[in-house]
Amino acid sequence: MKETDATPDPAGKRPRVARRPLDQLFGESEAKEASKRVRSSVGRQLFEFVLEQPAAKQATISGRLLIVDNDQLSRDILSRNLKREGYTVESETDGPRAIERLGEGKFDLVLWEVGLPTLNGLDLLTRIKKDGALQHIPVVLLSEQAETENVIRCIEAGAEDYLSKPFNPALLKARIRGCMERKALRDQEQRLLATIKTQQERLTSELNEASAYLRSLLPAPVTEPYPIDWRFIPSSELGGDSFGYRWIDDDHFALYLLDVCGHGVGAALLSVAALNVLRSGAMHDTDFCNPESVLKAMNRSFQMEEQNNRYFTLWYGVYQPSTRTMTYGSGGHPPALLVIPGEPTPKKLAARGMMIGGMPGSRYVAQSSEIPPGSRLFLFCDGAYELTCADGRAYTLDEFAALLAKLPPNIPVDLDALVAQIRTLNDSKPLDDDLSLITIQF
């Protein structure tokens, strides 16, 4: 093995690193000395790699160029010079034909005679800047000294650069190289933008799918035996609220709403996990007719340290038609509001209890309330009333209760109108939090 070669791996697959850069930089004898000082083969490879970088930057930029000029001599001079630089060069004499060639999509740059009789530079630029398939191709104008005014108009119309005849080889080389480098950067930017767009579309599609799944878990509004309607408006693509209702047996109707702290994907995932437990009633040693039992079991199963440090609030109630009573409990959730006919202020169905997942072993104490005929229950998350009014004042739960009390009693609640009113109260600004609202007419 030669001392100056990199050591190949046993399979012989690793590329050998030539000592050429060392020689170029130091001369042969100095290179030998430098290489000897870097004793390990890995170190030597790294040394050679670093030395090769400046050389790599000087590499020829390749590309395909189209020269459009009806002057034979100009075409030949340009073509020879540019081919020497490593470009692939083709030429045309006729403007419309050249436009057709550009449409083939294989050219990186076009050099166009500014005064070409069949299509002058300005007309060309007007035409290709309107064409989505051609507008990215840089145009370098070829001009006579006397055509300065034309060149200025073309530059203003979007030409990349210009070259005056007779051509200076060094200037030609530098300008074409500059144009190609800018083109390469723009192409790279376009590729990155396309990648970002694709990823964004994929993400949006997946979020929409997740949102559809979450909505599919929510129960449909019903009319019998109690009309129930709801609205769910997440503040981002995915919300952290979810809710449901179901008959546990002939005399126990469960109703619940949960609100995971924060919103977005993280909140929605926990929300779905918790909702599925409540929907299926699948939890060990839990009496789903008993709010205390449900809250305690949910708190045991969803401790925030095991749920990416997220907790949720939960209001869980069970209505018994035989006794017209609602037994309910709360894990840090705002009270439900019961609008009773003839009573000016809604009754707050509030119960004390720590948010679910907040602390192991938290105690939950259920409350109960009679549900008089004609009563209307509103169950909602804090996003329904934590609003900022136009004057900057925070809207309150009591104000929200007063708003609900004023709704016409003998017709179904128009939830769309109510949501519109909530938005207006929030100074018509986008809601900061998810908004869930359920109403039941007893």
Binding site: M355, D382, D432
Partner: protein, 113 residues
């Protein structure tokens, strides 16, 4: 959202929060807040008289700090909540792990106890 240090010694820390403790507000002060409370492992008085909104993410950092301090047998004391903020605290049940005081001297005495 502002966080101001009022006092800090070997027995307790006293800070004040001012502004809206919502998602944005929490993002602005979370690390500093947990640094002055949970990380110091000293009882902490948090003056929240200047907090005009307490959202779920705000509750989360209060709970985080309180639980960490409780494990160290220390206390998190919330001082002088505005009525609406007090309603949120009350509904959340966080009172099981934090003390709520209206009098600054009583809050400091509790932190030093």
């Amino acid at each position: 959202m502002e966080l101001n240090l009022i006092h800090s010694d070997d027995t307790y820390t006293h800070i004040a929060l001012v502004g809206k403790l919502d998602v944005g507000g929490v993002g602005e002060i979370e690390n500093k807040f947990l640094g002055y409370t949970a990380a110091r492992k000293k009882s902490a008085v948090v003056d929240i008289s200047g907090v005009n909104f307490l959202g779920s993410m705000g509750l989360r950092i209060l709970l985080d700090a309180a639980k960490t301090l409780n494990r160290e047998k220390k206390k998190l004391i919330l001082l002088a909540p505005q009525p609406l903020v007090n309603e949120v605290l009350d509904a959340s049940g966080i009172g099981d792990v934090v003390a709520i005081e209206t009098d600054p001297a009583a809050a400091v005495a509790l932190a030093q106890a």
